[in-house]
Symmetry: D2
């Protein structure tokens, strides 16, 4: 039984708590949060203890730590927890600062503890079926990947201001999905963005609608579309053209009921947002982490994956600013030094 300490009792922390408890081989031992009442309330629901993050990381009885705290604490907590010998699952993004994330990656490498980054979408049954079909050669050689990823409604501008921007906060999931499905990182990234959904987002220095085009060394292309608003719900679709055909992962719907009247043929909307759509993915993600932590096998999403996606977000942010293409090796050059 894997004893787990959860750092962060916010919305996403609660999702993880549920997955930890439901899994037959893991147990929620302790919960911490900047708001002690939040930690206590969540701990009580799961028969766990409310403690500080320091106590949790320092407790030799705790095997694994799940980090669901604000982004600017991720790198420090990852380093501390791995130093203390814990297996770590950390929410995305690793950091808003690429250099800090890379430093964290080096520190962790020294300890050898498993660190998995919470790119939950890799565990969505639709995307993983798509990946399996592509890997099995069902559409031949892959050529062109398209990702459509629209949120139902924009977050408050106050959140936007501390989020790191659309590319680091939202599209980072899609960068990782591209890496997952293409099995490679791109060489050049071009981005355009606009604050057409809400001008206040533009005033806060961010965009709410963006298209990113990425090219690979072998000539393949990926295009990602993001919008902070889709009136009909959470739109999460992927399609991949290959030499022998096309794979599409379509939205999951609220139900299968279709109504035909004189007004047309009406089906259900996509499931509303990430909790509705990706709950099974969070459970599968946790199961994969437990499997790796218990067996000692490699985690399926590494800290390096987290750094790669962050570097792509950095490149896209720069490209959207300058209007021109950005080479990935320029982003990573200062690092390599």
């Amino acid at each position: 039984m894997l004893k787990v300490g959860l750092l962060g009792a916010g919305r996403i922390g609660r999702v993880h708590a549920q997955a930890i408890t439901a899994h037959p081989k893991s147990k929620l031992s302790a919960v911490s949060d900047a708001l002690p009442e939040a930690a206590k309330s969540l701990a009580d629901e799961h028969g766990a203890q409310a403690r500080s993050s320091g106590e949790i990381i320092g407790d030799p009885d705790i095997d694994a730590v799940l980090i669901a705290t604000p982004t600017d604490t991720h790198s420090d907590l990852i380093e501390a927890a791995t130093q203390a010998g814990k297996a770590v699952l950390c929410e995305k993004p690793v950091d808003l600062d690429l250099q800090r994330a890379i430093a964290c990656q080096r520190t962790v490498a020294a300890h050898g503890q498993p660190v998995m980054i919470g790119f939950n979408r890799r565990f969505d049954p639709n995307f993983s079926a798509m990946k399996a079909a592509a890997n099995a050669g069902e559409i031949g050689q892959t050529e062109l990947l398209s990702i459509t990823s629209f949120d139902p409604a924009p977050p408050p501008v106050s959140y936007i201001k501390v989020s790191g921007g659309l590319f680091r906060d939202m599209m980072i999931h899609d960068f990782d999905m591209a890496n997952y499905l293409m099995g490679d990182v791109p060489t050049v990234i071009s981005a355009v963005g606009s604050s057409i959904v809400d001008p206040e987002i533009g005033k806060a220095g961010d965009v709410d609608t963006a298209v990113v085009t990425m090219t690979y060394a072998d000539g393949r292309i990926t295009v990602i579309k993001n919008s902070r608003r889709a009136a009909y719900g959470y739109d999460q679709r992927v399609e991949m053209l290959g030499s022998n055909g096309l794979l599409q992962a379509q939205n999951m719907l609220e139900n299968t009921v279709v109504k035909s009247t004189s007004d047309g043929v009406v089906g259900a909307k996509p499931t509303y947002f990430f909790l509705e759509r990706y709950m099974p993915a969070y459970q599968a993600e946790w199961a994969a982490f437990v499997e790796a932590a218990v067996s000692g096998s490699t985690v399926p999403v590494t800290l390096a994956d987290g750094v790669a996606a962050l570097a792509m977000a950095e490149a896209a942010t720069r490209s959207a600013g300058s209007g021109g293409p950005v080479r990935m090796d320029e982003i990573l050059k200062p690092v390599a030094k």
Copy 2:
């Protein structure tokens, strides 16, 4: 060039006139109608002559006759035209009176002229693709056929009164579709019906909603559902279960546009009614008739097919009245004498 006389210049007559003119190997020579102005107007549009049906049938220059007159004239006109050596395409049903239809069939047999019955749905590209797939064994042995056939709106009660009733007027298409797809006629027919759409239809002695179940000598089953009203348009679907799978022919839609809003995901309605849905089928039907008439090959839908469907309508009408199953051999027994 097949020279064609068209008897009947009503709505369906106009549909056929168009198909005759559009076909490279046929030409509309003459049109008749009980209303001489209707005949003249349609003839003028196609550079044809308005004549009486007697003149048309008697003219040795005319090769083929298309009968689109009221049902009670069909048998007489089929007999006269075949006696005069014409190839005949006659709209369904052959007759409302089964005995009269059978007598007609015998008369025609004596002359040896081709008589094709206008079961246009056999020429719908969806249903014929389904038939081809079933014949190719793509779902193994067929077991259970379901036909859904709803009109968009009921005809006037005045029409209902002279129509011969839902089974002879509307479901006769579905009886023929069952014969076409199952490659056999059933042995027992059970029907239930109701006038739930419009009580006036009930007062006129007819039903507007009906379900018919048919069993075959080899244990297969067909079920047909009819309604005189579907608020969303013309609903024409067929599905066939076999030992290895299911075939479904779905509705054709007005267009492929889908709109997703906070109200749901809305697609287009089915094409409205038989003219919109089956125009390509009417053209394919005429092409098949021309091919048979010119080459001397057998017509793909025979007078015997028309009589079989009419006998099934007769059985269903009786069953809906009595509530009990009706054997097809009882329907055909007096005929056999």
Copy 3:
């Protein structure tokens, strides 16, 4: 916390055990089974005790009993458990013998304990969304209901022999669905059946393919299609025609991935069988039972609902034998005495 005794540790018992444990307000206390090891194994997994059914029913600490034993024990166990003051959730069907079920219903009425019958499909989110839409008048007055219900593969003939036959074992779910969606029981039932999937099923006196037509006092009609085999998986679809439109509940699919190649456009199959399709429904069913048991409100599916569906199965069985329609009041007449 509702303390629950589970009678029966077979496949469906295991499904229920999971739902009981997962629910925050219920706890699995004890498990019984004719095979003691089966009871022990399941009890161990859930931290419960393996006991005899008599001990469970006799234990005043146990609040509710879930009956998942062979059908021929249902009536006795329902009576014993309600006599002992338990709330009861019993798997369908109530009994294979309609008279016995009715006697049970009378006995239970005397005790006043809640007895819910496990028609899990009422809790399927698709069917309940459909019911809600129909009740809200979204398609006007309902007229014609169609239920398609195909199992992926037939059970062994040994099971068929003790099952009570297709109408009592399989279609009973659809009879209940019709009662649920139409809000009424039919007056006349006609059935045809065939053993076309497997002749051995015919030799065992049962059918494997059947169509049932039911008419209601107000002229509405329901048609149900059953097959013991669908090569593509579990086919569970419902459609309802009303004066203003059509509602359809379509199959749930294994995933949303669509592959387009030169062979066509291929989507996933329906979820395989009842465990895959209806797991959320079993959970919702249990939640509804707990809610009723704890609050004292009426259970949403009553013993009377179970008896009604059984009477319809009886009528269909007789109709399939005789070939003629069977009136529901004839089925219930001897009972009324």
Copy 4:
């Protein structure tokens, strides 16, 4: 009756000949082609005369000229025909040389004759339904347009070499579609391209897979994806995100038959290529031209539309070469002088 001279008797010329003959208000009078036998054969089929293009343009009895000759002759023929007082429908693109096209536009402006460019997709019933819905405000303010346009198979490399390249030959349709649906031309265009389908295409200096991103003065964005190969047929989809929802125009399918077996649920492929998909659009295009030519109203797709799409192709070609964004005003600057 509009008397029409057709210049060019190749594949697309034959498509137009059919539409001209089928239209009740137009008549094919004469056909020219560089290969006299091709002109004669097509003319014979339609009861027209084979003549030289000079004779056709010079014949005062001919009212309109349809130009379906090789692209490098378009500008000269447009100028000659308008000078001779004809109404002109010219296939796309206007020219491969933007400056020549602009010069042609000026010459034509002097004569005042109607010149329509053959962007047939504007007349596709799906795209025009989408445009109508967007114009009616059904998705609020438009924000993000996506066009997917894949051909079933690449043309021979010999064709590629004279085609002007993917952006001028293939994507020009999508540039026009964007102008049509967005009601504006973009300010900046970025393109990436690759010859991943066939390296020979790359050696010929062209790309076969490309993504173009376009931004507008008001912050809206369009993304266009092109591939010369889709193993499943002609893929022609458009989607438009707006403040209140999404509009999608999906592919038209060969038929509506769906087959479910143990291998999955298989539907028909998209209609194969542009003749199959856009035949109704060619007919509607011709009808719109006849309407404008006869009534003197403005043609629905002007020479200016043709020049705008060509300028966008020029910008995309330059961007794909340099890797950086290209401003539309730089493309048009030399022209403005």
